[in-house]
Amino acid sequence: ADRSIPQSKQKYVPTSGSYPKGFLAGSSHAGVKASNTKYDDIALVVSEKPYAASAVFTRNLFKAAPVTVSKKFLDARKSDGFRAVVVNSGNANAVTGKVGLENAESMSRTTDELLGHSASEDARSLVMSTGVIGQRLPIDKIISAIPKAHAALGSTHDHWLQTAQAICTTDTFPKLVSRSFSLPSHPETTYSVAGFTKGAGMIHPNMA
């Protein structure tokens, strides 16, 4: 499908941003869906130093493998010492049994190794997936594309925007928001927060 952004939605896509120090974003093309021959579908966010992490997850009883695996990782590390989040779009890795769990862990392990962390450590990369339900991930394609996303990491607005685009499925535009701010006790320091999200259908989140 053509993913050009409709005229009416272009006003929602930022042309610049203020991004948090020490974070890098990158994306690559794996071709998770066979019909996707040109758009990036692997997204990677990395921190140069370990970060604290938390997440809220769907309360749907049929939790997808990356939900189960990421929750396990957060519990194991008590929300500390993480380095990355790796995401694939095009396939949700949901209702895929034990192989699905192994594939989600494999995405995390591959990312950890690229960042110089041993597979014997508790995982330092969270995993997310989105797309069709009930199909196994084409894991070889994904594992091959993660190093390309790593090689594409950067901190510019374009890096963030392209990474936001890589997690999209039926979305018509990437959703990226950032801002800088200060805190009352040391107003001379400038902080930043940036977020990107995807979603256009199957949307009624109830996360905890």
């Binding site: 991004y19 948090p20 020490g22 966010v45 921190s47 130093k49 604290a52 992490a53 938390s54 997440a55 809220v56 997850f57 769907t58 939790k63 997808a64 990356p66 939900v67 990421s70 929300s79 993480f82 989040v85 995401v87 949700a92 890795n93 949901a94 209702v95 997310m128 997936s129 989105t130 069709v132 009930g134 499925t169 039926t170 959703k175 928001v177 950032s178 801002r179 701010f181 805190l183 009352p184 006790s185 040391h186 320091t189 902080y191 930043s192 927060v193 940036a194 977020g195 990107f196 999200t197 995807k198 979603g199 256009a200 259908g201 199957m202 949307i203 009624h204 989140p205 109830n206 996360m207």
Partner: protein
């Protein structure tokens, strides 16, 4: 599916992150609906690496409530709300962005249940697509929420002491251009709606539906609780997209 990744260079204690994130998600990502379907994969992660925090400054902690923590919480909530609203604006086939505000004196959950019920009413969402000021469908959605709350079969959610009272319920459309609200129902009594004006209001992409569950007629009295929820309309395009989406 909703996925979200939020990164900040503020230092935050790992043990505090979940509470901070949960607080913001409650009034942002958990307050939107496009089609009423909760995905198997919804995930929003918050990452804090402390890279901008000067040395000697302690990480934010919920155990030590501070102005800094409150300020960060506000920034995070505003950002997550903006992201959540963008998701609704991109709803499959959506032509309208609808803010639903429900005010109640009973409790927050009464207001939220009514807001969710309105936001997930397929028949109302079709009316909005058709630019029809169909307050009857809004009332219908509120009404069966009240019914469920009163049901002995569902005691787990029967927390509200006072159900929705039809003759205290008012419904208005608030136009996106800041002009006067279009009152559709006042304390259970239908207004004589100017259909031309109603059509004008519904021509805007953005629409606010304001529901007062305990309207006493005293304009100076503010409701104790307000739930804000965001949704969109249903169009032919939604069916086309989801009829075509294949594994």
């Amino acid at each position: 599916t909703l996925l979200g990744i939020v990164c900040t260079d503020v230092a935050i204690e790992p043990a505090s992150l979940h509470e901070i994130l949960t607080k913001s998600v409650g009034t942002s990502f958990n307050s939107i609906s496009i089609d009423g379907d909760t995905s198997t994969n919804d995930t929003v992660a918050l990452l804090a690496n402390g890279a901008a925090t000067p040395s000697g400054v302690k990480p934010l902690s919920v155990a030590q409530q501070s102005e800094d923590l409150a300020a960060f919480q506000t920034v995070l909530t505003e950002l997550t709300q903006e992201l959540a609203q963008l998701v609704v604006r991109d709803g499959e086939g959506a032509t309208k962005f609808v803010t639903i505000k429900v005010q109640s004196d009973t409790d927050y959950m009464t207001a939220k249940r009514a807001a969710v019920s309105i936001a997930t009413s397929a028949i109302l969402k079709c009316a909005l697509y058709g630019k029809d000021a169909n307050w009857g469908r809004i009332l219908c959605a509120i009404g069966y929420t009240a019914g469920i709350m009163d049901s002995p079969e569902t005691p787990a959610i029967a927390t509200s002491q006072t159900p929705v009272i039809p003759n205290q319920t008012s419904v208005s459309f608030v136009p996106a251009d800041g002009s006067a609200e279009l009152k559709l129902l006042i304390r259970g009594e239908p207004e004589q709606v100017d259909e031309v004006r109603a059509k004008e209001v519904l021509e805007f992409e953005d629409l606010e539906i304001l529901v007062k569950l305990n309207d006493t007629g005293d304009a100076s009295k503010k409701s104790k609780y307000e739930s804000v929820f965001w949704t969109c309309d249903f169009s032919h395009e939604y069916v086309t997209i989801n009829g075509d989406y294949r594994t």
